[in-house]
């Protein structure tokens, strides 16, 4: 997907025409003599896969592309065509069932997609056509149409905003369904367009469709009566995206620029690729083995058959003549059909029912996750959500956890903690009460102790009030209601949260980042209140309750590269001021050094305490300076090419020579039980990587707080900071550091035994690795001629030996890149990504298992995830509890299925040696069909749903138990061989035990003899009992359902056998089993052999259980043991503890 996207991006560059021209309202413009209406695609969205006509063939084709289905189809066809020992019904019926159910499910899903498509495509929109308002279906919109959209409607295509009903020429939009950001964004009309749209004559020149939601470059030429056309620049702020919703604005008009599948939304859609679990891969491998067994069995039998037939008198003795047709058949054809017949006879070794059972297990099993009340979060009134049931067992196999920081490890619930003005620290007292256990030692500090000069303070607070893009939520009751309702619908969080934007506050604030809200509210606590915008004027209420008004001249937007934002305002008195806030690293170089020295200490201390720090600076602009900046900005905004770069240059030019006023510290609290969860994950042998866009210091302190880094952890740092080294090339330094770290972490480390077991004894030095985005791209994409692959492998090796890796300053795409890199490295470990925001979607989609947190950053992550949980702490139970159990269950299910079919078919195979290789089935057709469907299916299904070999609490308390099943331990070749051998042993036993009994078939006390069907029935009875009892022995958790199903199955078998043999069935051609079962039970010898064989076949299993005993109870007896020695594994400290106050400096741990 990524590649495709990149290709598309590159492809755009290669395209000859790199812009499109749109005639607004399809009106010819004076400048262009001949109007050639350009061809654009229509506005239809097609997401469905099938139509009514192609559904059947296409769906069948897709289904039979699955190798298993195809195999069963072949078997079925063979049975139909060739004269085979079993009737086609035996394999046709289950196959038909499976195919039908799947087709219905897929058809239903596609029908829903059709419905959704239609809803969008047939939606009626108002289009201005030749001065009239006309209603059109959405799909009929053409590029160039002027479309009217009213409040709360979604935009039918990508539009350029021409006119808004709001006075300030703006409109508000929420893009929750696109990128998950639920805040209201402001979009602007193209400046100076005419109010009368009918007479507007303009062309728009813009780039070709591309998927980036936040990029748009265009230019609008407006033609007025014989005047020189006016040119206006168009940016993303003018573009309204399809899928976004209009808010707080009554009506807008826009001209369609991209339509249908060329809209950014359609281009952005990432096909959710099917994730396959590792268990499925194991199943396929086993399947291959069994297929080989099957084919070799058939080959052996066919060969022996012809060898045997060559002996005189064997092929066609007088008592058993062939029909004429058989005699005439071609020898080779006969051999081939014989081979196929054997295949059919033995094909039960790979049963259709296994797929059905596995699917059922997964489907039904996933209910337990959504039912789990421990996952229920009373705050958002939701439990866990399961988006796919295919990956349940993968949860028990995770080796790498990639977690987002903000919103995942931390709550993304910002709180203004303190500020520092001119080197003096200010702390607001009330914040202490909300954080239990963390109280400022020097008692409640009064609001603004007179430390810094009052002037400075007020300047600082004004800066906080002005330098942001926060909007005040409209206070009108109606507006509020709508907004609330929408937010509830969008993510269900906001309404209940009450903290950041709750209506309880006097003014609700809407902002793209919670930091800004926290800052504005922080200023409010100190008496400066931001009242909102009034047509380009920002109103602030100061401490004396006077309203100050500032004219907003320019907003120098925040971007992650610059890491700062500025506003230019004009005060009442006519002064032009620039306020700038941003990360310390981006502000410090731009202010005077002596100011920095006063504040740096505070900033660094705050950063190590895990607060997000921002520095605030200002600058008084002289008239000349302002004019220069103003023209620069306007010019840059108009540029069609390299607009970003040009803007950046102007920004950089303007934001210099500022003076630093102060710094702020905002706390992002840890999620509940974040530390315990992370500790448990590490204890379970998982490696935790924190991928965050945040800055290093903050992320590092979060890692310490989550106990991902311990005090003893040696930190290996590979960041831009460490790479800066006395004029040497960064590559060289990088190379050097990598080699050094590699030596330290990989070569000098004692060889880690058995792969995953990171012993947590202190003898082993723990390493933590820190890398930032810029360095990472240097590692991954270093110049092609240098040894980039070498860097990459060095990097990977270091990372694999570190317990925790922290990647900061990551772009969303880089997150996915990292996940992909780890996923594809040696041993292909199972990866899990957990995140809550739209920026985590890429890594959630990339990882084997994607987990979304139902946080406050919209629903995007949840929608794209495989599982969604309300809180991070639930991850522990999801992995250690559910994941472990599901893995054990499905592994057991798979092994058991192969085993039970091996010992089912082996006697049938052996019987061929005694029946002249004639494909005579040992068991009756009813038994052949029912074995997997009725007699032995329910117990294993119940077992695989309910089994808890170790109960949930113990699993949760002992994270180390997770290592027992790591690396697909229960589906390796070892266990597979064990089960196979068990199956072979039992199969041999069943067959030959009865074979020796039948050396004298007079088994009844009246001297009467038993025939071949009695033989088969005895074997089958032993088989059903053994296989069921074997399962009973494996069951460690006997609920009444297990009892019911296991004993019920056996009872059903007995009942069915009596019933089946008790009646002359009119529809059967042969009454083979008539009273066979009852006669068998009347024979003492049959009873004795059945009991003997069942016991004997289970004997090795019992023996193993006893011999394994020293290890077996170890896991179960651990419970009391652990409770006695809880100390180290479970720390009783409360989760609400704030970010720890470390007494040590983490710098000392960092190796530089």
């Amino acid at each position: 997907m990524l590649r495709r996207r990149l290709n598309r991006l590159f492809g755009r560059d290669e395209r000859k025409v790199d812009s499109r021209t749109i005639y607004v309202g399809h009106r010819p413009c004076p400048a262009t003599e001949a109007l050639i209406p350009p061809k654009f695609c229509d506005n239809r969205i097609v997401s469905s896969k099938y139509t009514v006509w192609n559904f059947l063939p296409k769906n069948l084709f897709e289904q039979f592309r699955r190798i298993a289905n195809f195999y069963f189809l072949i078997i079925f066809l063979v049975q139909v065509i060739v004269d085979t020992p079993t009737s086609p019904v035996t394999s046709g019926l289950p196959l038909f069932f499976v195919i039908t159910v799947t087709a219905i499910k897929q058809g239903y899903e596609d029908w829903l997609r059709h419905k959704a498509d239609n809803e969008v495509n047939k939606y009626l929109v108002t289009v201005l056509e030749d001065g009239r308002r006309a209603c059109k279906e959405s799909e009929k919109i053409k590029v160039g149409d002027v479309v009217e959209v009213v409040e709360d409607e979604t935009f039918p295509c990508d539009l350029i905003l021409l006119q808004s009903s709001r006075e300030d020429e703006t409109c508000f939009v929420t893009t929750a369904s696109l990128d998950g950001e639920s805040n209201h964004k402001t979009h602007y009309t193209v400046p100076d367009t005419e109010r009368n749209l009918e007479s507007l004559s303009a062309t728009i020149e813009c780039e070709q469709p591309q998927p980036d939601l936040y990029k748009f470059v265009g230019r609008m030429h407006i033609y007025r009566n014989n005047q020189e056309p006016a040119v206006r620049s168009l940016g993303p702020e003018n573009l309204l995206l399809k899928g976004a919703t209009l808010k707080n604005t009554q009506k807008i008009y826009g001209v369609a620029v991209y339509s249908g599948m060329e809209t950014k939304m359609a281009l952005n859609y990432q096909g959710k690729s099917q994730k396959r679990s590792a268990v499925e891969k194991s199943i396929n491998a086993f399947l291959l083995v069994y297929l080989c067994i099957l084919v070799s069995k058939a080959l052996v039998c066919t060969t022996l058959k012809y060898v045997w037939q060559n002996r005189p008198g064997q092929d066609e003795p007088w008592y058993n003549q062939k029909t004429q047709k058989e005699k005439d058949a071609n020898l080779y054809l006969k051999m081939f059909t014989d081979f196929l017949s054997f295949m059919v006879l033995f094909n039960f070794i790979i049963p259709v029912s296994m797929y059905v059972t596995v699917e059922m297990q997964k489907f039904l099993g996933s209910f337990f996750i959504s039912w789990d009340k421990d996952f229920f979060d009373p705050e958002i009134q939701e439990g866990a959500l399961v988006n796919t049931s295919d990956l349940n067992e993968e949860l028990g196999q995770v080796e790498y956890v990639f977690t987002d920081k903000t919103g995942t490890l931390t709550q993304n619930n910002m709180e203004f903690i303190e500020c520092c003005i001119d080197g003096f620290q200010y702390k607001y007292a009330d914040s202490g009460t909300e954080l239990d256990g963390f109280c400022v030692t020097d008692g409640p500090v009064n609001i603004l102790q007179q430390k810094a000069g009052r002037e400075k303070e007020e300047l600082f607070l004004r800066a906080l009030c002005l330098c942001h893009t926060v909007q005040v939520k409209e206070a009108t009751g109606q507006g509020d209601g709508v907004a609330d309702g929408v937010e509830d619908q969008v993510d269900g969080v906001m309404g209940l949260d009450g903290e950041t934007v709750g209506p309880a506050d006097l003014g609700g604030f809407i902002a793209s980042s919670p930091d800004e809200v926290a800052l504005v509210k922080g200023a409010m606590k100190y008496g400066f209140k931001f009242l909102g915008m009034e047509s380009k004027n920002m109103r602030v209420m100061n401490r004396n309750n006077d309203v100050e008004t500032y004219e907003l001249l320019h907003v120098l937007n925040f971007d992650p590269v610059r890491r700062r934002m500025s506003v230019i305002v004009r005060t009442k008195s006519g002064d032009t001021m620039l306020f700038c806030k941003g990360a310390d690293s981006s502000i410090f170089p731009r202010v005077r050094q002596e100011e920095v020295d006063r504040i740096r200490m505070h900033v660094e201390r705050n950063a190590t305490e895990g607060y997000r720090t921002l520095c605030v600076a200002y600058k008084l602009l002289s008239r000349e300076e302002y004019d220069q900046a103003d023209t620069g900005l306007r010019e840059a905004k108009l540029a069609l090419q390299d607009r970003e770069e040009k803007l950046m240059a102007v920004y950089n030019q303007v934001e210099t020579g500022m003076s630093l006023i102060g710094a702020t510290a905002v706390e992002d609290r840890l999620q509940e039980e974040a530390a315990e969860t992370m500790e448990a994950l590490q204890g379970a042998g998982m490696k935790v990587w924190v991928l965050t866009g945040d800055k290093m210091e903050t992320a590092k302190s979060t890692c310490y707080a989550c106990r991902l880094f311990q005090r003893s952890t040696e930190l290996l740092e590979l960041t831009v900071r460490t790479l800066v080294d006395l004029g040497r090339k960064r590559e060289e330094r990088l190379h050097e550091l990598l080699l050094d770290y590699h030596k330290r972490a990989v070569q000098d480390a004692p060889p880690i035994k058995a792969g995953v077991t990171r012993s947590w004894s202190s003898a082993n030095q723990d390493y933590g690795f820190i890398i930032d985005g810029a360095t990472l791209s240097l590692v991954l994409n270093s110049s092609p001629e240098s040894n980039s692959s070498c860097y990459k492998s060095l990097f990977l090796q270091i990372c694999q030996n570190c317990t925790t890796v922290l990647c900061c300053r990551m772009a969303p795409l880089q997150k996915a890149q990292i996940v992909k890199m780890v996923k594809n490295c040696k041993g292909s470990p199972i990866t899990l990504s957990i995140g809550d925001g739209a920026n985590d979607v890429s890594m959630i989609l990339e990882a084997h298992v994607g987990i979304g947190i139902k946080g406050r950053e919209g629903r995007q992550a949840v929608r794209n995830s495989d599982y969604a949980i309300p809180k991070l702490k639930h991850l522990k139970k999801l992995l250690l509890g559910h994941g472990h159990l599901y893995y054990v269950r499905i592994a057991h299910l798979v092994q058991y299925f192969f085993y039970k079919n091996l010992c089912f078919i082996l006697p049938q195979f052996l019987y061929q040696f005694f029946c002249g290789y004639s494909q005579q089935p040992l068991y009756d057709a009813a038994y052949l069909t029912m074995y997997n469907i009725c007699f032995t299916s329910m117990p294993i299904l119940a077992n695989s749903l309910l089994e808890q070999h170790i109960c949930m609490e113990v699993l949760m308390d002992n994270a180390a138990l997770y290592r027992d099943v790591a690396k697909n331990a229960m589906l390796g070749w070892g266990p597979f061989l064990y089960w196979t051998l068990l199956g072979v042993y039992q199969g041999l036993l069943f067959f030959f035990g009865v074979r020796f009994l039948f050396s004298n078939p007079a088994l009844q006390d009246n001297g009467q003899v038993f025939g071949n069907w009695s033989y088969g029935t005895i074997v089958f009875t032993v088989l059903v009992f053994t296989v069921t009892l074997k399962l009973a022995m494996d069951t460690r958790h006997w609920t009444w359902i297990n009892h019911f199903v296991i004993w019920g199955s056996l009872a059903f078998y007995m009942f069915f056998s009596f019933f089946w043999g008790g009646i002359i069935w009119p529809f059967l051609r042969q009454q083979r089993l008539y009273f066979v079962f009852a006669n068998m039970l009347s024979s003492v010898s049959a009873w004795l052999i059945i009991i003997l064989l069942i016991l004997l076949s289970l004997l090795p299993e019992i023996l193993l259980l006893v011999l394994r005993k020293p290890r077996g109870p170890h896991s179960r007896q651990k419970k009391p043991v652990v409770q006695s020695g809880v100390g180290e594994t479970q720390s009783p400290r409360s989760s609400a503890r704030p970010l720890l106050m470390k007494t040590f400096s983490d710098e000392s741990n960092t190796i530089l």
């Binding site: 062939k322 029909t323 009340k373």
Partner: protein, 364 residues
């Protein structure tokens, strides 16, 4: 390939099992849904398994001994009368066999019993290398015809091919099994110490399963006159007489002839025996078959030389466990002893290492 994000939500609702409905509800706090059903968690420990081993051993060994003794007490006498050997009295018959010969070939085999057969004696015939379990053979029958269905009588199933019709006439009973019915006649004579031959009465009834005789096999049409009931059918190709002439006794004629029914129950293995006759004990005073010399008179109709088969006659008494088969007794004794032995070994292991393991576990 395309689906846009607006319907992702709907998709979610489709694929989420139960997700859609319970989303805004607190999950039910039932034991089942919370996986907290009360459960019995058996733990197999040496303490529970060891006694089981001993108990199994103690039960199995006596049963095994009982079985073995029982099997040994069963008297069994077997005589091969195939006649492949030049010295065999049936050599001539086996060599000169032809399907068309009208005069039956007979031969007499003398034998002597070293020990008397006290209780009822069951007389079996045994065939070797005869694949009654061959697939083509097993399916070559029409059970509805044998059940007295008149339409099937006239239209035998195609499974009976190539024994379904003979010169356009339906064969009754059709199929390879019926066609190849064993038709040697075996008679047993006791040679008195004074030289007189006494024919031993052989009972024809009670050799087939009761249900087969009374339910599964029925003569067509309920007509007491079998000849007319089988009107329009022809005898199997290799039979010498039609099905309604198998016996003179009406209760043992036609499809419900017990020899026929016994034959129709196909054997499990290529070497098999089938019950032929029962020699009933006359009274408690004299053994059924006293010690002494006997002659087996064979009407040799059944060719086996072409497929290298063997024919035997077995005289055997029967116990509660059936015919003579030492296997079961030996198996029980072996398994019993193995269990007992394992019990002892485990006990030693448990005593020696078990306690140490337990103590080692605790501080861990």
């Amino acid at each position: 390939m395309m689906a846009s994000s607006y319907n992702a939500k709907e998709d979610g609702h489709v694929t989420v099992p139960g997700g859609g409905t319970i989303q805004n509800k607190k999950p039910d706090n039932t034991a089942f849904k919370q996986q907290r059903l009360p459960a019995w968690q058996p733990i197999l420990t040496a303490g529970t398994v060891l006694p089981a081993f001993f108990v199994i051993g103690l039960i199995f060994i006596p049963i095994g001994i009982g079985l073995y003794v029982t099997s040994n007490n069963i008297k069994e006498f077997e005589i091969d009368y195939t006649g492949t050997d030049m010295s065999s009295p049936c050599f001539n018959c086996s060599q000169s066999f032809s399907w068309n010969s009208t005069r039956p070939c007979t031969c007499a085999l003398p034998f002597s019993l070293e020990q008397p057969f006290e209780s009822n004696v069951f007389m079996y015939y045994g065939l070797s290398n005869f694949y009654q379990n061959h697939r083509r053979y097993v399916k070559s029958r029409d059970d509805s015809q044998l059940n007295g269905d008149t339409t099937s009588l006239m239209n035998p199933s195609k499974e009976c091919e190539p024994y379904a019709r003979n010169e356009k006439m339906p064969i009754a009973p059709c199929g390879a099994i019926a066609n190849s019915m064993f038709n040697d006649t075996l008679d047993l004579y006791y040679i008195d110490p004074n030289g007189t031959r006494i024919q031993i009465p052989l009972m024809k009834k009670g050799i087939a399963w009761w249900t087969d005789k009374h339910v599964k096999f029925r003569n067509p049409g309920g007509n007491p006159n079998l000849t007319s009931a089988f009107q329009g059918t022809t005898k199997p190709i290799n039979w010498r007489k039609p099905v309604y002439e198998l016996d003179t006794d009406a209760e043992n004629n036609g499809f419900i002839n017990e020899d026929f029914i016994v034959w129709m129950r196909t054997a499990a293995l290529p070497t098999f025996r089938k019950l032929y006759r029962i020699i009933q004990k006359k009274n408690n005073m004299t053994p059924t078959l006293p010690r002494g010399n006997y002659t087996l008179e064979v009407t040799y109709n059944y060719p086996v030389r072409s497929f290298e088969g063997r024919k035997r006659v077995i005289l055997s008494t029967i116990s509660w466990m059936g015919g003579k088969n030492p296997f079961l007794g030996i198996a029980y004794i072996t398994v019993g002893s193995v269990c007992f032995f394992l019990g002892v070994v485990l006990l030693i292991i448990h005593h020696k290492y078990g306690s140490r393991n337990n103590t080692a576990d605790i501080p861990n």
